[in-house]
């Protein structure tokens, strides 16, 4: 009887031992990356080009991983669920994000859209030629009302170091602001300018310093808006000043930075 009991106890012990081992194996964390530790990428926002005349249709997404897309327009804090393309009829910035039960929500991504001025520039001149590799079709690219190509091979003028001044002519009218359309691609040594000044004759009528020009930022378009003292003019000079050197955090520290410009807009 005692022997039988001992064997039964052994079997019970054995069963629990096996169970414990199996439970341990079962509860062991997977060695593979888990969904909840991964963040969704922000949704893609697509337009024909960020410049438009009257209105433009904005598409967001599609997303995968059962993600939901939300968006909001600049100045409106309320997020809306994205279902169909959005019609935009004024310059604005759009913010979008993706969320899902399985993954960490995405960061918020933004896209600036710019409504073109109703009048066209007559001509643009500069004494400084763009670098031959990044000269596109010449300085007239800056008033063609077209955005440069994403890969900055067409439509852009590239300058390395120093400053460049553009003289823009147009039919005389009241003007109130200038937008300089530039590119940020710090991996390719392309930085925002450090300062933009606007002159009417010899009088400076507007100025903008770009305080974060030397900081690490996301690649993308940058539209530098310079408010002007309201005045009537038919010719403005736009002076673009580059950073003196590439900042210390960058792999090309101390080298001359590049500035890429694809459009000058006057309102």
């Amino acid at each position: 009887m005692i022997v039988k009991k001992v064997h039964r106890i052994n079997f019970i012990f054995f069963s629990f031992f096996c169970s414990a081992i199996l439970m341990l194996v079962g509860c062991q964390r997977s060695i593979y990356l888990q969904t909840k530790s991964i963040q969704l990428s922000p949704p893609q926002m697509r337009v024909d080009q960020p410049f438009f005349d009257d209105k433009i249709s904005l598409h967001i997404g599609p997303t995968e991983n059962k993600a939901k897309i939300e968006y909001r327009l600049e100045g409106n804090e309320k997020w809306q669920s994205y279902k169909i393309p959005i019609s935009i009829d004024n310059s604005t910035k759009i913010f979008a994000r993706a969320s899902s039960k399985s993954f960490i929500d995405s960061e918020v991504k933004s896209l600036q859209l710019v409504k073109l001025p109703k009048f066209k520039m007559s001509s643009v001149e500069t004494k400084r030629k763009a670098h031959p590799k990044y000269a596109s079709q010449g300085v007239s690219e800056l008033i063609d009302r077209q955005k440069g190509q994403v890969d900055y091979t067409e439509g852009w003028l590239g300058y390395s170091g120093g400053e460049v001044v553009f003289d823009v002519d147009f039919d005389p009218r009241m003007v109130e602001k200038v937008i300089v359309s530039t590119l940020r691609n710090q991996d390719a040594w392309i930085f925002s300018p450090s300062r933009v000044q606007v002159f009417h004759g010899k009088t400076m009528v507007g100025e903008k310093s770009i305080s974060n020009a030397g900081q690490a930022t996301e690649n993308g378009n940058e539209f530098i808006e310079i408010p002007l003292q309201k005045l009537k003019s038919g010719r403005l000079s736009i002076r673009v000043e580059l950073l003196q050197e590439i900042p210390s955090w960058h792999i090309a520290s101390g080298q001359k930075p590049w500035v890429f410009i694809d459009e000058l807009l006057i309102y």
């Binding site: 439970m23 990356l33 991964i38 963040q39 995968e64 991983n65 091979t153």
Partner: protein, 349 residues
Amino acid sequence: MMNHNYYISRRSFLRHASILTASMTMRSVSLRMFAEKDVIIGHGAYRYKVDMNWGLLDSSKFPVKDCHEMVYTKAGNIILLTNDIRNNILMYNKDGTLVKSWGKTYPGGHGLTLMDEGGEEFLYITDTVRHEVIKTDLDGKEVLILPFPRAAANYTKPEEYLPTETAIASNGDIYVADGYGSQYIIKYNQYGRIEKVFGGRGEQEDQFFNAHGIAIDSRNGKERLLITARQQNKLKYFAMDGTYESSIHLDGAYICRPVIKDDTVYLATIWSGNGSSNTGFVSILNKENQLVSAPGGCMPKYTNGKLNPLYQTLQIFKHPHDVCIDEDENMYVCQWNAGNSYPIKLIRV
């Protein structure tokens, strides 16, 4: 009686068995519960689980900066090239254990190509700081240096020549891509004599913006050069004499170098979309050069024969710079500018 002592009643057996069954069921449930949370990336037949812990080393002893490229040896080891001059080369076995390390003289170590030459394997390292290509054995003994080819393409100074990749033809000819420099492809014979220069920076079909990677594609039985034009999101085919043949468009994919294994081309894709930071993934082309999977990226979709623009969907990779495929078709992904991180292993499922 003795037998009876070992006897356990049917009822008792069932009770104990039920404990086992229950625990096995719980194990199954718990395994399934966890298995469902494993990230699976990629599309179609090319889908992968992600092992972020493969190849982790003590960074105080075996540091890495940018992990630029990897190759897979016939002995089943994985060789990684980094531009950290404390150990430019790290050799792993497949389970991620370090086998050996060497190399302190490649500050711009960028391209790494493996070639079996008469039974012995050699490495071709491109160095963008030294402006040279260096051929070594697997222990680091240098056997050939291709110096700055000043006369080859009217180069005026070494800074114009930043070689990013090599490809070695079956006859021993060496092709060097000047992908960060003047965008020329320089063809040497096996002894290091320059025979031809083609390509160059430009928008023409036979020119490049960022001729970053080059490989020999012999999948259809005839050797051809397959070269990336990374900034243009294209792969370009050239005949071995440097004649342009055709292009493959991969809009939105900033592809680094083609890695060909069997019928498939794998490409680390360092950026996507508009080229923003931390938007990388991996691109996989089938035998017909159709994109069939993009681990970490969107599902490939063709509209009227044209591939829709590609973009990242999950933030697993930052800047993939190269991939390496083992005989089980698992993939190892090394990255540029990714916080001094070691490679990521993708296990094909």
